[in-house]
Symmetry: C3
Subunit: 361 residues, 3 copies
Amino acid sequence: MNTTPSHFPLNAWYAAAYDVEVGRSLLARTICNQKMVLYRQTGGAVAALEDACWHRLLPLSMGRLEGDEVVCGYHGLVYNAEGRCTHMPSQETLNPSACVRVFPVLEKHRFIWVWPGDPALADPALVPDLHWNHDPAWAADGKMIRVQCDYRLVVDNLMDLTHEAFVHGSSIGNRAVAEAPFVATHGERTAVVTRWMEGIEAPPFWAGQIQQARGYSGPVDRWQIIRFEAPCTVAIDVGVAPAGSGAPQGDRSQGVNGFVLNTITPETGNTCLYFWAFARNYCLEEQRLTHQLREGVASIFREDELVLEAQQRAIEEHPDHKFYNLNIDAGAMWARRLIDRMVESERGGSPSTVIPIRRAS
Amino acid sequence: MNTTPSHFPLNAWYAAAYDVEVGRSLLARTICNQKMVLYRQTGGAVAALEDACWHRLLPLSMGRLEGDEVVCGYHGLVYNAEGRCTHMPSQETLNPSACVRVFPVLEKHRFIWVWPGDPALADPALVPDLHWNHDPAWAADGKMIRVQCDYRLVVDNLMDLTHEAFVHGSSIGNRAVAEAPFVATHGERTAVVTRWMEGIEAPPFWAGQIQQARGYSGPVDRWQIIRFEAPCTVAIDVGVAPAGSGAPQGDRSQGVNGFVLNTITPETGNTCLYFWAFARNYCLEEQRLTHQLREGVASIFREDELVLEAQQRAIEEHPDHKFYNLNIDAGAMWARRLIDRMVESERGGSPSTVIPIRRAS
Amino acid sequence: MNTTPSHFPLNAWYAAAYDVEVGRSLLARTICNQKMVLYRQTGGAVAALEDACWHRLLPLSMGRLEGDEVVCGYHGLVYNAEGRCTHMPSQETLNPSACVRVFPVLEKHRFIWVWPGDPALADPALVPDLHWNHDPAWAADGKMIRVQCDYRLVVDNLMDLTHEAFVHGSSIGNRAVAEAPFVATHGERTAVVTRWMEGIEAPPFWAGQIQQARGYSGPVDRWQIIRFEAPCTVAIDVGVAPAGSGAPQGDRSQGVNGFVLNTITPETGNTCLYFWAFARNYCLEEQRLTHQLREGVASIFREDELVLEAQQRAIEEHPDHKFYNLNIDAGAMWARRLIDRMVESERGGSPSTVIPIRRAS
């Protein structure tokens, strides 16, 4: 039993799986400490049930699918997609209490989303915006990894890209990013960090992309616009355009643009499922490039994984440590506040006012 | 340290090993949270001592056997089969407190039985009846496996064979068993579940056995008579006879009969040693059949092991879960009550009256 | 989190590494529950910093060395060898609190020693005497192993060599050692156990050494003089000389002499780093003998490791066990008392008076 208080809201949509992961078999997932079994019904709709038989708690994911129903792998109790028991062995009448919990579920932007909290509040309009992942104007591909850390450490990581210079020094990072100025803003559920680097030499990765896509080589205007949507989705708008071609003013037509799409689902208080994809708006048909970008991003995220898991262990060893924030933490600080507000408001507290946080310098 | 209260009586005989496992070397076993070292003395009798040297707690099983005595592998203290220290290094006189605990032990029905509780109560007449295991009228063979679950989950599993349809669907199970009526009765230390399926088509396994042993093919009367002996022995009388040949009335002479012999020894609150054997009263000389049956049962029990260990984990994750019983749980329910009475009576409470348990339907 | 109270003083020098282990890269070590990163500066001096970045706690040992400074592998904060942060990303001014703890460190007798307690008390004169390890009159070589036990169990083990007869029966042990009388004395920080075996047949190991070095075969006077220096260093003076040649009286000129040098550093309450070396005063130039002795001692210590780790597990399973001491435990008993005094005096208590310990016989 994990007794750490949870730092995630329950009333939110969380990505449970990529759409293709859920088919005509039983998939076990843990979302916000809730064990679930997911499967696709014959009509195509996805069902998400509590993964524990009402009778003896055996995970239903160890049973089998029959039509739209799940048969428990121990004594054969049968449950429909609404979680109601429809058959018990050796008896005619069914106990009316015999059911398992069912979770609101929907499919959007190539993910299966579940709502672990109050079903009455499960508004489909609240699914985070990751539309680039299935928009025909973009070519996208991605993966899921399980990381042994609090999902908020991944959010922190994504809200400040200066870490690229130190964690990813051998690939995408350079010190220019660490030193470039940025602007951080926020709304009710979003926080945005914008960094423009104008008239710079393109880093190797982007130099290659704009050469390949637009035949351009020369100085560029480079952007990184990180958009957080509470509690755990981060879409990062990145790209370069020829210097002076108007990108900072809104004309990106001569540039190349990518989106690093991230949504991080807490499994427990200290493990998470990290879904990511990279979408681009150029060379859409080139399968080779799609493959190359997916594997390139994957190897970068493996570097982050080592850092995030080491950080989690260090935090657990220093349970009373107070953290100081640097200038670079402005985006993460706002993301944390928006998460805290959601959690506190669920606990019946009033949404917190602005929390004073010590600032370095 | 496991702080879960134990759900096993201490005043009972528990199988610690198959007879052949204990010879002229030191065997470490844990029975009811007690670590023991077992060995066979030169005269053939088995000794069971506490597996921790009086001096510095090193497990005696890491030492060596000298005659009928054990020499500690650290500083050479010597203990006889009564647990008394008979030699200390570098000193003439021995501290009179220098001894380790000794456990009552006896050998019967091809098992070594130990009594972890009060030695004054260790009555040899209380060894459970598993005589088929060495009766010349029966051919028997078996194994031991270590299962990561409370031993009572194994008892539950054996007291209701409807699970065969769902856990063992690919081998011995079919839905006929799950739907056949049964009768459950109980005594002071025993609970019996009797299920007769008369005039049915034999399932593949038994069709083969009666054909081979009696040259019979055709409809059969099939029986399953599960006999629990508290706290943890289950002997299951199984077989088929030609339909109408009088088996339900007591004449099994034209049939084939097997006994699935099970005794499950708690190691700790959540692990157990599961000893089983299969005995048959036909084709006694056929070694090939003995081998085949042993391996066949072993692979069936591996399917149970997966279910039992998953169930244990689920129970630990839901510590306050209240279980509902179905009709099929009648036998297990009585077994649990008999176990509970033994445990409560050891704790100084009066044997419990009948506990109200919710029934489904 | 390990909540066991610690049984080691903090105000002491502990071996953190062999000198050659610390170079121009980052070495992580845990000493007395403190995680440290060690490295050698360009001038040769060793630095030992707390292994957790002030900003987000990432272990600094996951970063990299730049000159005499450490760069954090996450956001690039830079620390000098005094633990002060000298650079932060994206900001000009540095928070004055930005530093990590620095530990007193020095190099002596081929070890890097750190002082995990109050730096003001770190007196270089308190480094334990292991001078044989780099004295040109001696040839020495050794290793470090990590043992999963309380460091005091290793001290106990070394303070009583009768265990050689039982743990190392196949190599250096024989029962003569277990039965030979010994004398135990102690001072403020030291305890000494002296055992002379005069006019005996040399055990195989020493018979070979004195034959090779001095061309002597015949009866010998053998000695084992175990010197403990609180809290965790044990130097064992061992050897043989021709019987009657005056060794007990102080003339070892015709004998062969070795020192088993041991210093055991607590990592945590139940793991330790065990540094040892074997030094000899004969055949100094023979590399082959140095190699052979190092590997021979290493395989003997692997036998101890099994016993020590089993003993640790047994102690954890018997948290309230009271231990009795035998005659052979006299040296270990004094070592424990000296350790206890150091620990109690750090806790602000007065140094304990002599603790009554039950004696066997």
